[in-house]
Subunit: 213 residues, 2 copies
């Protein structure tokens, strides 16, 4: 035993992974600063002290870089949501879980507008996340539906409703008050409204039924 193996083949792999990391960080920085549309290979390369064609040693195309950013963003969001989860007491009420989840999500979006646009609006000229990149986003969606299930909300239609409420809040927030809280401060109100709605409707639906056995 000599050195700490990182993955496949020792140090060159590690060095390579570090360069990839630098490229992605430079891309995030550039996107945040100049907008997602201004992301060009030339500029990314310049930030890591390279010439543009050298990037092709690390990524086969610009789309691959965007895919990597998309996955990176979802991974970071996963960390945020996990830390929210860990900070909650084990017996936290479902209402509180939902409020804190959504609040953290909106905060995550507000922290970087370009990242928000990349991850949550499909509005980038010639790009769509690849299928494998897209899969990386499903874990975070899963966390939302887990929390909803804790609140007794299991109907898929109600999940759709909840995603629409969340998407609407964050979209209005990002578009009209990106650094404020004009919409995000209503998260608690919206969650109450939503849970009351689903609960009371379930109650109504349950009344006519007389048991299935």
């Amino acid at each position: 035993m000599r050195t700490t193996r990182v993955s496949g083949s020792s140090r060159v792999e590690a060095r390579r992974a570090q360069t990839v990391r630098e490229i992605l960080d430079a891309a995030w920085q550039l996107a945040a600063q100049s907008g997602l549309d201004a992301l060009s290979l030339r500029e990314i390369a310049a930030r890591v002290g390279m010439q543009a064609p050298s990037l092709y040693s690390y990524f086969p195309s610009k789309a691959a870089i965007l895919d990597a950013l998309f996955e990176d963003g979802n991974s970071r969001l996963g960390d945020v949501l996990a830390s929210v989860h860990e900070a909650l007491p084990a017996n936290a009420a479902p209402r509180r879980r939902l409020v804190e989840l959504l609040t953290a999500w909106i905060g995550f979006c507000q922290a970087d507008q370009a990242r928000y646009r990349l991850m949550f609006t499909s509005a980038l000229p010639g790009w769509q996340p690849s299928e494998s990149a897209y899969r990386s986003s499903l874990d975070n969606y899963q966390r939302l539906s887990d929390y909803l299930a804790l609140a007794g909300v299991t109907d898929p239609g109600d999940l759709d409703l909840c995603t629409a409420l969340s998407a609407g809040l964050v979209a209005q927030q990002m578009a009209n008050d990106p650094h404020g809280d004009r919409w995000s401060r209503r998260v608690g109100e919206v969650v109450d409204m939503f849970l009351l709605h689903t609960a009371s409707r379930d109650r109504r639906a349950a009344r006519p039924a007389k048991g299935t056995s």
Copy 2:
């Protein structure tokens, strides 16, 4: 009196207005077919049988064309909302008014994805509606707040909440089921939820008060 004057100076003005109309129609058609990002002066011009530079006789820049499209879209949306308004009986319940307004709006968005993106998402590379173009969108927003006022909803915060609900429904619909009704069919449910929420909260707020006189 000879001929029907259209605006300033007789026939040349009318002919000019008609060409402008043709240009905008060609632009809508191109955007719907090839996407908003593919809108190029060359392609627009080709569709009206011109060369690209000739467009500069009608618009000073590409941004001016986008502004005109934005205003045109808002004008058409105004027509749609007005016809919904006229079709409603004078004594229609506020709940019904809201449902039909939002349903019509979502239908309008679904009818043309590119138009939706131009009018309602600020996600076009280097363009923002000019201030005067933006003003053309306020009339339609006003219609929503008028209907909300009929339902007793006057608090600005509640208006924000309602725009978030609407924006969320339409965004999810456009992004995930552009030709279906997975979200739009829940408009009635959402309106009920919203109106119940505002009404019951107002009731709670009114209880502790004992009159202001």
